[in-house]
Amino acid sequence: MEAIIIGIAKSAIRLATPYLYASIGETIGQLSGVLNLGVDGVMLMGAFSAFYTVLKTGNLWLGLLVAIVVGAIFGLLIAFINVTLKAEQGISGIGVYIFGLGLSSLLFSTMVGTVQTVSGFSPLSIPWLSNLPIAGEIFFHQNILVYGAFALIPLAWFILNKTPLGLSIRAVGQNPEAADSLGVSIVRIRYFTVVLGGMLSGIAGASLSIALLNVFQQNLTNGMGFIAVALVYFGAWRPTTVLIGALLFSTVNAIQIWVQVHGINIPSDFTLMMPYIVTIVVLAAMAKRRIHPPAALNKPFERGE
């Protein structure tokens, strides 16, 4: 029993990785007032570009870098449409999703064609800590991208709460008029947060294709990017609570995989359904808490004449 729980906990920590990168990126973007629903599309592009680079060169770091660059390019595109062209953010996000899904499938079928695997980032044991009983096995025998995802939480918390940049980001999302009158460039801050979000989504995708699953196929993410957006609501725009949400979901995923692997007599379609049901229930339950999104979320900034 203990071995089972340790196994599930270990894989829950692993599987939280893509959620963490994508949700933290989305949190920062939403705090500045931009709702980006295209996360899943960007993740797919990041996953494919990292996978393809590793398949051709065998260089994992290069793969990660390419995913970050591709994510940044998508971030620029999203920022241009949402910030400069002031598009309706809900719809433009769906456009980004459909585009990313279509383009990654197109590139995959022309450049790779068949499902192949690569050897991704291997586990990296942290000296001394990895020898701890139980916790060592769960937390400190993971690969570098997993550690990076968890390091991102305090980093994001610090930047958002303790630095002038974080203050500007939140000001732009809460009260753009006031921020504007204080000389903060709304456009520049929003471009920055959205491009950063794109890069993190790119890493999130790469973490799937070159660290966790080491494979790419069409629609690899299966809606993970949308769950990542839901986690931002769940986490009430705070990195620490986003972490709790991500762990909740990755635990559901880990149990689902465990059940499937061990051939327990629950139809796999039911276990696959679980994360999506949990998302809806959690979102509905959140409504009872009186937490409001950033005031300017999904509202393009128009300077009053």
């Binding site: 598009a87 809900g90 433009s92 459909i98 585009f99 279509g102 383009l103 079928s109 409504a287």
Partner: protein, 363 residues
């Protein structure tokens, strides 16, 4: 105003041309194959129209929802809800007379689509759950639910007997086949879709309820102030939207496939029509009548792309990418339209202002 989607389409096509060239194929040959595939023969044209039909149903649903200011992205799930429920009705009441069974199946599909979307509407109106997220989640739940049923309870008994276990139902009784219009795959469902397009237009622009639905989409505060029960109309918009999509799903089963099937993925049955219908609606300027040519155009692209894939090995996923671009270009260019409208308004306003001023001064 109609120029914007056409310009967006041409720009997307231009980007598509560059992508095809990148893949090492002469774009002219590729587009020729696409055009021939979509319009090259009576059968090709019929296939295009058949492909456009579910897009029109989804697009009409999207028109109602988006006009009400709610973003229903749940077309995939609502198509499945409609198709699945209609299939189950046809499997269980196969002994009923054909036309009664057809009407019953279509009605149940309509109803189940409404319920599936209604869940998201209810959560949005009364729990403030972001409807984009809830509808996406409902898409997955519906797809996995359908896959489960197709792998077990409603699997074709022959598949079990033969041991091949292909996740599909048996072919539905021939009495529920929708009538063919001409000896091609073109079926009666297309006419139903066009009739509904007209009905949706009448509903949105010629009835009080439709006016209120559009009003909550335009200005929710003003609607509330004028005494409209905003929550009720929000749920109503979702229900009507989902009902049309559900009907579209039921018609896909009775008119085209005559059975329910899956390839295990979440878009196995729908072929992503739930998303492509959104593209059609946006492309048709969220107008039910405009959505008809928009669906046809996308139907042609999708049908043509399948043929193009076989002729010049350009994966049909290209059209998926182009669809995404079309959405981005349409919503992006919307700003140009709005700012133009605002400028015109401002000049009109300043004119009347100066007129009033002149009047006062002369008095």
């Amino acid at each position: 105003m109609t120029l914007i989607p056409i310009a967006a389409f041409l720009l997307a096509l231009l980007i598509g041309t560059i992508m095809i060239a990148f893949l090492g194929v002469n774009p002219l040959i590729a587009y020729q194959a696409l055009l021939k595939g979509a319009f090259g023969s009576t059968n090709a044209i019929a296939d295009t129209v058949v492909k456009a039909t579910p897009l029109l149903f989804v697009g009409l649903g999207i028109c109602i929802a988006f006009r009400a200011g709610v973003l229903n992205i749940g077309g995939e799930g609502q198509l499945v809800a409609g198709a699945l429920s209609a299939t189950i009705i046809c499997l269980n009441f196969a002994e009923l007379p054909g036309w009664i069974l057809i009407i019953l199946a279509l009605f149940v599909g309509f109803l189940c689509g409404a319920i599936w979307a209604g869940i998201a509407g209810f959560l949005k109106a009364y729990f403030k759950v972001n409807e984009i997220l809830s509808t996406i989640m409902l898409n997955y739940i519906a797809a996995y639910g359908m896959n489960y049923l197709l792998r077990g309870p409603i699997m074709d008994p022959l598949q079990i007997e033969l041991g091949s276990f292909i996740p599909q139902t048996t072919r539905l009784t021939h009495v529920v086949d929708l009538p063919r219009l001409i000896p091609t795959r073109l079926h009666f469902g297309t006419i139903v879709a066009v009739v509904f397009a007209i009905l949706v237009y009448i509903f949105l622009w010629r009835t009080t309820i439709g006016f209120r639905v559009r009003m909550i989409g335009q200005n929710i505060q003003a609607s509330r102030a004028s005494g409209i029960n905003v929550q009720k109309y929000m749920v109503l918009a979702f229900i009507l939207s989902g009902a049309l999509v559900g009907l579209g799903g039921a018609i896909e089963v009775l008119g085209v496939h005559h059975r329910l099937f899956t390839d295990g993925s979440v878009s196995g049955f729908t072929g992503s029509a739930g998303f492509n219908g959104i593209v059609a609606a946006l492309f048709g300027q969220l107008h039910p009548i405009g959505t008809i040519p928009a669906s046809l155009l996308l139907g042609a692209l999708l049908t043509g792309a399948n043929k193009m894939q076989r002729a010049v090995q350009i994966p049909s996923a290209l059209i998926g990418a182009l669809n995404g671009l079309i959405v981005l270009l349409v919503v992006g260019s919307d700003y140009l339209r709005r700012s133009q409208a605002r400028r015109m308004e401002q000049t009109a306003e300043s004119k009347t202002n100066s007129k009033n001023k002149n009047k006062k001064e002369s008095q």
